[in-house]
């Protein structure tokens, strides 16, 4: 008979989410629901009537970890609506900023997943904060990669966290020749560090994949070879950066997108019937607790061609580079493979950047109310912003953030796994939950209606 177990809150990712899992007698997940329990609402409404300069700043505040992606996607959605083409050197600065952010993010994710993994050749799980070798050297390398990512981002974007240099029509300032050289030196140092870091992480992930069993809170859990497999599709709009043109990027067509309500997708009210106090950290939810993912989930379910899709590093590699490894390990390896690609691309962009070139468009139209969209390939996936700007006022604004895409896909990927490994599967998506709340629902008649589930 099926039992219900709940892991709440999930850990080692941004924001608050939970896993509600219906499992069989062997503890294998029959149906898994991963949902956001962080209500954030009102950004779409708040944006209306603001200027196109204000909205990207608002968008960048929606999340603590993706401000750069949101800032860029919102800015470029505005530019798409008003039909403003920015100078090449402004675009190069944005590319550099975005890639620098991704390098920081991959390094951060390494720290988050290492505690699930083993030092190859041992039965020791990795504590990235230990002072002992060889982990200490690896941790220092990870920190240096984060520092490099943030420093390059600060130079290109004005600030390391909330970029102040981006503006509708381009960038406020180009960088100096000296700053270009500094970015170049840092990118080369980053590449030299990223290569061994990628190799090490892939070796550690392969070691994990080859295990018959893994330890979770003292429980010996059989590791399935199909951990995290799903049959949903992939969505990516660019190998590195993003797009705001259907001609340039035929893989994202707003007409193929729909969003359904969480109660159409998630399980209804149930009672927790399996409790495991040994599960890290602090045990699972108490027996008898009522759970109701339909009502607790704070996100809509976006569909592309009628199905949830996966976004993120594997999707980018699958769509643009023919990568075909499925499952959680394949997903984490894809992320590692982006490390060096990122630095190579960044070096190319820095090479192409002319510090004397103009970075603001000559003419910035006020907008005629046309629908404009822009996707930005954030570290954790496709971040799509949609807007209408008329007479320099925003009339409509919507954000489809990466983890919202992945909630339903990851939920499908949980099926068939031991429940104790559900968080390992979830972490493969490098979730960012706090901004992943989106309550604009396109109903059956394609009318846009605001649905607020939790009032």
């Amino acid at each position: 008979m099926s039992k219900v177990v709940e892991i709440s809150p999930t850990t080692r990712h941004e924001g608050h989410s939970k896993l509600v899992l219906k499992v069989n007698d062997q503890g294998i997940i029959e149906t898994g629901n991963w949902c956001s329990i962080t209500p954030v609402r009102g950004v779409e409404k708040l944006a209306i009537g603001k200027t196109p300069e204000q909205v990207p700043k608002i968008a960048s505040r929606v999340c603590g970890i993706c401000p750069i992606a949101h800032n860029l996607a919102a800015t470029e959605a505005m530019e798409a609506s008003i039909k403003c083409e920015i100078p090449k050197d402004a675009l190069m600065l944005r590319h550099i900023l975005q890639l620098a952010n991704r390098c920081h993010s991959i390094a951060l994710h390494d720290i988050l997943i290492l505690p699930d993994l083993y030092l190859p050749g041992t039965e020791t799980k990795i504590n990235p904060f230990t002072a002992e070798e060889p982990v200490r050297t690896v941790a220092k390398r990870i920190q240096r990669l984060r520092e490099i990512g943030q420093t390059i981002g600060q130079i290109a974007g004005g600030e390391a966290i909330h970029p102040s240099n981006t503006r509708v029509g381009g960038m406020y300032r180009n960088c100096s020749e000296l700053a270009k050289i500094k970015m170049y030196d840092l990118a080369k140092e980053g590449l030299a560090l990223a290569k061994p870091q990628m190799d090490l992480m892939i070796a550690i992930l392969r070691n994990y994949q080859a295990r018959e069993h893994v330890d979770v809170g003292g429980m010996k859990v059989a590791l399935p070879k199909t951990l995290g497999y799903h049959n949903q599709g992939y969505l990516a709009t660019h190998a590195f950066y993003g797009s705001s043109s259907l001609d340039e990027c035929p893989s994202w067509d707003i007409n193929r997108f729909k969003e359904v309500r969480p109660w159409d997708w998630y399980m209804g009210e149930m009672e927790v019937s399996l409790e495991e106090p040994k599960y890290p950290i602090g045990g699972t939810t108490k027996l008898g607790t009522k759970v109701n993912p339909q009502m607790e989930a704070c996100t809509g379910i976006p569909m592309y061609d009628g199905q949830p899709v996966e976004v993120g590093p594997r999707a980018r590699l699958a769509v643009y580079k023919g990568y075909d490894e499925k499952g959680t390990v394949g997903q984490n390896i894809a992320r590692e493979m982006e490390y060096t690609d990122c630095f190579y691309e960044m070096i190319d962009c820095i090479d192409a950047l002319n510090p004397n070139g103009k970075v603001v468009a000559d003419y910035i139209p006020d907008g005629d109310g046309s629908l404009g969209w822009a996707s930005n390939e954030a570290p954790r996936g496709t971040d799509v912003h949609i807007t209408r700007v008329k007479d320099w006022k925003v009339q409509y604004f919507s954000m489809l953030v990466p983890t919202t895409w992945n909630f339903a896909t990851c939920s499908a990927a949980l099926t068939g796994a031991p429940w104790q490994l559900a968080e390992v599967i979830m972490r493969g998506y490098d979730p960012c939950v706090s901004c992943a709340t989106h309550m604009i629902v396109i109903d059956e008649e394609n009318r846009i209606v605001a649905q607020k589930l939790i009032e």
Binding site: P9, P39, V43, L46, R61, G64, I111, I161, H162
Partner: protein
């Protein structure tokens, strides 16, 4: 250097009314010319995973966090806190490494002070832009407190603070001012 000897981080989200206090103070501080060993950062919601987990104690000796805090005072009151004063979860890394406070890891090597302002209105989860008058009035005072802490005096900083302290209690840096 990304994070120098003294780091001043404004935390909070301007989309939730008074929660924008930290970034607003940082905006004011960024208008000033400060010594090179001081870095002022608009951390937004990203403090834990962009800054606190990246500070190198060999470089950074002092961290000043500016944020809102509910300590039961009148809105706009300001108080200084040490890490030990904070309830669990105050600065839990949003990426929650292992449910350990990221500041706990560095507090023995880096001198950490949190300057908290009592908010009047935090609208989370509903978004609203705009800081209340009471909290707005606390911004210049916080700037003066920070300048005093880092030893920068533009001629009026210490005198103003001295007057404020005489009117308020030392613990709340003059919390009565806004009553």
């Amino acid at each position: 250097m990304l994070y120098p000897e003294i780091v001043i981080a404004g935390c909070g989200n301007p989309l939730f009314a008074d929660d924008g206090f930290g970034p607003a103070v940082v905006e004011e501080l960024q208008k000033l010319s400060l010594p090179d060993n001081i870095g002022v950062v608009d951390a937004g919601l990203g403090g834990p995973h962009f800054i606190f987990t990246l500070l190198n104690p060999e470089e950074t000796k002092r961290l000043i966090i500016i944020d809102i805090a509910d300590f039961g005072a009148e809105p706009g009151s300001i108080a200084k806190f040490r890490i030990e004063d904070l309830p669990p979860g105050s600065y839990r890394d949003a990426h929650s490494w292992d449910l350990t406070e990221p500041l706990e890891r560095i507090k023995d090597q880096i001198d950490i002070t949190v300057i908290g302002c009592q908010p009047k209105r935090v609208t989370d989860p509903d978004m609203e832009i705009g800081i209340s008058d009471e909290v707005s009035q606390a911004i210049p005072k916080t700037v003066r407190i920070v300048l005093d802490m880092i030893g920068v005096d533009y001629g009026t900083t210490r005198q103003c603070l001295q007057e404020e302290r005489q009117r308020g209690t030392p613990e709340t840096c003059g919390s009565t001012e806004n009553r």
